[in-house]
């Protein structure tokens, strides 16, 4: 018999509710992140992502529900192990890079000497060395963003929240930051990654939490979600048009193959068998999984339609 050691989630939220006046911003949100996990928090504007993040970080108190970080209610000690890069970025523009970073690091409980050493490492990692003596006001938006990212991870946090981290960055710096995120994950940090760029989520995240209307509408590993939304579509690279094959309702040319829609109740293996029986030469046969963006549009569109129907 094998025993599975229980992993304490880095962060866990149970049934969070937050209201602002009569508006319910977050309703019954529960989620958790494990060490070394990168989770994408996605949702349309106004869905409640930022409010949820603020409650996870103890910037806002939930009206109902509870948050635990590192296995306990959030405390000053826990705060010192959290890094937060908010969507609306800002540093002290009249201060130079190093004093900005040192101040934020000291607020996280770091000693100045340690912070300086760590800043040197990060400057090298992120290519910021030439800019360390500059004032924030002298930096471009992208460089300022990299400096703030460096300040976010300077104290080696175990839980990191990155809200739209790549917006405004050029492709080179996006790659630099993505590499840094991957490195942090390897080092065991739990990373929550909020963005509207679904391709970034697909590239970086193990799991996706989709929020809409203040509630969680999807939560699961990316692979499972994609499989769930795969539906009845196939991609077949073949020399024979699958139209007319048993179990196929529609087929259209798609690059080097065909996009095939299965009939209700048909299984992909039945179609494969029928195609082979028809003498088709098949180079590729796969379930066509939708992109996360397509899933997002389907889920959010459906939610919106339901909300509109409820209003009617």
């Amino acid at each position: 018999m094998t025993a599975t050691a229980a992993i304490t989630p880095t962060v866990r939220a149970d049934s969070l509710w937050k209201r602002f006046g009569g508006h319910v911003a977050v309703r019954d949100v529960s989620l958790s992140l494990d060490p070394g996990e990168v989770v994408g928090l996605v949702g349309p504007n106004g869905a409640g992502k930022t409010t949820t993040i603020r409650m996870l970080l103890d910037i806002l108190r939930p009206d109902e529900g509870a948050v635990s970080v590192f296995g306990a209610p959030i405390s000053p000690q826990a705060q010192s192990r959290i890094g937060y890069l908010p969507e609306e970025r800002g540093l002290y523009r009249s201060l130079r890079v190093i004093p900005n970073m040192l101040y934020l690091a000291e607020l996280k409980g770091m000693q100045r000497e340690h912070a300086l050493r760590r800043a040197d490492e990060l400057f090298t990692l992120l290519g910021l060395e030439p800019h360390r003596g500059k004032k924030i006001s002298e930096l471009s938006r992208g460089l300022g963003q990299l400096v703030q990212f460096a300040a976010t991870i300077l104290h080696e946090p175990a839980f990191i929240v990155l809200d739209e981290p790549f917006s405004g960055l050029d492709p080179v710096n996006v790659r630099v930051m993505k590499n840094a995120v991957s490195r942090l994950r390897r080092e065991g940090a739990a990373i929550m990654f909020s963005t509207h760029q679904m391709t970034d989520v697909e590239e970086l995240c193990d799991r996706v939490i989709m929020i809409d209307g203040g509630a969680v509408v999807l939560d699961g590993p990316l692979v499972d979600i994609k499989r769930r939304f795969a539906g009845n579509d196939l991609f077949v690279a073949t020399d024979l048009d699958p139209q007319g094959t048993d179990g196929v309702t529609a087929s259209r040319r798609d690059g080097a193959g065909y996009a095939v829609r299965l009939a209700e109740g048909s299984a992909p293996e039945d179609v494969l068998r029928s195609l082979l029986e028809r003498g088709a030469k098949i180079d590729r046969f796969e379930l066509a999984t939708p992109s996360l963006e397509e899933i997002f549009l389907r889920v959010v569109g459906r939610e919106q339609a339901e909300a509109e129907r409820d209003e009617e």
């Binding site: 908010p86 800002g90 101040y103 000291e106 607020l107 703030q148």
Partner: protein, 420 residues
């Protein structure tokens, strides 16, 4: 782990004293005082520092030796100025004739030479000889004492001589309706000038520090660093840290200004004759000034912080801050009344209104219009009100630090203040 409040305080202090504007402003008072002293000194020298004055004063600073040539003769035919050659630290050195005195003057052995002519008794004329473009001369009071002492010291008693030199000193006794009498404390010009000056500087310093607080908060809200800060500390820690740090900067500014003011007043008294006696401020006055500064700053800073939180940008915050600044400076409008009737109803009322208490209290204390007991009561009221302001502002911090772009309504603010 070091206190986050302390870290915020240290950061705010360092950032504030690093501002060029702060440094210029802090240095302005000492520089202006120095320039004023130089200007007054030059003017006094040009005008002639030996004009008789109606009241006492110290001799000109730095003048230790002046010469004189006594060509006069009394009724007995003897020279008039043979004694009392040290007056208020000034040594009067006799010379046989003007040529010898002039030679000593040119040799810089003396700073000036006074020639008493043979008909001095009839005319009172004295000729002062000094080097070109120099301000040398005995202080007016020293010369007056030297002349009077030689003329009449042998004719009158020492006490009569002092009364001739300084005829009287007035103190006031007030009779109440019940017949009780209250002796007023002697009016100490130095205390008053210090208190009034300190009051003004306190106000400027408090408003400057509170203004920086408002500016900093507005900046942090506008550039969105607030959210990062709040992921590391509590709103209350941020508020107290800012109050402490900027209060420290304000206190430093106040200390520089106070030292400059004290030095200016003391030096002024040595250069020119003032209509009041000047002395260094007492420990009580310094203590009262410090207490009013600390509490006055805490109150105004807290209220300014509250404004910074509930407004959307610095411009808007500055516009509303006028309603805090005006009451704080309002005692200046009643300055004449406060000086004339420091124990009057208006003075008493303003001493207990938190926003007007710091300036009023200092002016009243300086004029002797109030005792330490009443000052303590005024400070007590100020402290209680300030504590209440801190409590309420902490509620606003918790509620509105992350509200961007829109100002909460008055009713919403009141509800937050009430319910937390």
């Amino acid at each position: 782990m070091r206190s986050k409040t302390w870290l915020v305080a240290r950061h705010e202090f360092a950032v504030t004293i690093g501002r060029l504007g702060f440094r210029i402003f802090a240095a302005a008072v000492p520089v202006l005082a120095l320039l004023a002293l130089i200007g007054i000194g030059v003017f006094d020298a040009v005008r002639g520092g030996d004009e008789p004055s109606s009241s006492g004063g110290e001799p000109t600073a730095g003048v230790a030796r002046v010469g004189y040539v006594d060509l006069s003769a009394g009724e007995d035919g003897q020279p008039l100025f043979m004694s009392f050659r040290e007056q208020d630290g000034v040594v009067f050195v006799p010379y046989a004739d003007e040529a010898a005195g002039s030679a000593a003057l040119q040799a810089e052995e003396i700073d000036a030479l006074y020639v008493f002519p043979f008909d001095f008794l009839e005319t009172g004329s004295v000729v002062r000889v000094r080097m070109e473009d120099s301000g040398g001369g005995a202080g007016a009071d020293a010369l007056r004492r030297f002349v009077l002492s030689n003329l009449i010291a042998e004719e009158v008693s020492e006490q009569q001589l002092q009364r001739v030199i300084r005829p009287y000193s007035v103190s006031t006794v007030e009779l109440s309706e019940s017949g009780a009498t209250v002796e007023e404390d002697g009016f100490d010009g130095g205390e008053f000038l210090f208190s009034f000056g300190a009051g003004m500087l306190l106000l400027v310093s408090v408003l400057t520090a509170a203004g920086y607080l408002l500016q900093g908060l507005s900046e942090e809200k506008e550039n969105r660093i607030m959210e990062v800060l709040l992921s590391s500390l509590k709103p209350e820690q941020l508020m107290f840290g800012k109050l402490l740090g900027l209060g420290g900067a304000g206190l430093l500014q106040m200390a520089v200004w106070t030292a400059a003011l004290v030095a200016f007043l003391l030096a002024l008294g040595r250069i020119v004759d003032l209509p009041v006696e000047l002395s260094a401020p007492s420990v009580e006055t310094l203590g009262v000034a410090l207490a009013y500064f600390l509490l006055g700053y805490a109150l105004l800073g807290t209220v300014q912080a509250a404004l910074g939180v509930v407004t959307t940008n610095q411009k808007e915050a500055n516009n509303i801050a006028v309603f805090v600044v005006l009451p704080a400076v309002s005692p200046m409008w009643f300055l004449a009344v406060l000086i004339e009737h420091p124990d009057g109803v208006l003075a008493r009322v303003l001493s207990y209104v938190p926003f007007t208490a710091p300036l009023t209290g200092l002016i009243r204390f300086g004029t002797g219009g109030t005792g330490l007991g009443e000052v303590a009561l005024s400070l007590g009221v100020l402290a209680v009100f300030t504590a209440l302001a801190v409590l309420l502002t902490a509620r606003l911090f918790r509620a509105y630090l992350l509200v961007y772009g829109q100002r909460p309504g008055v009713r919403h603010i009141l509800r937050t203040l009430w319910s937390g």
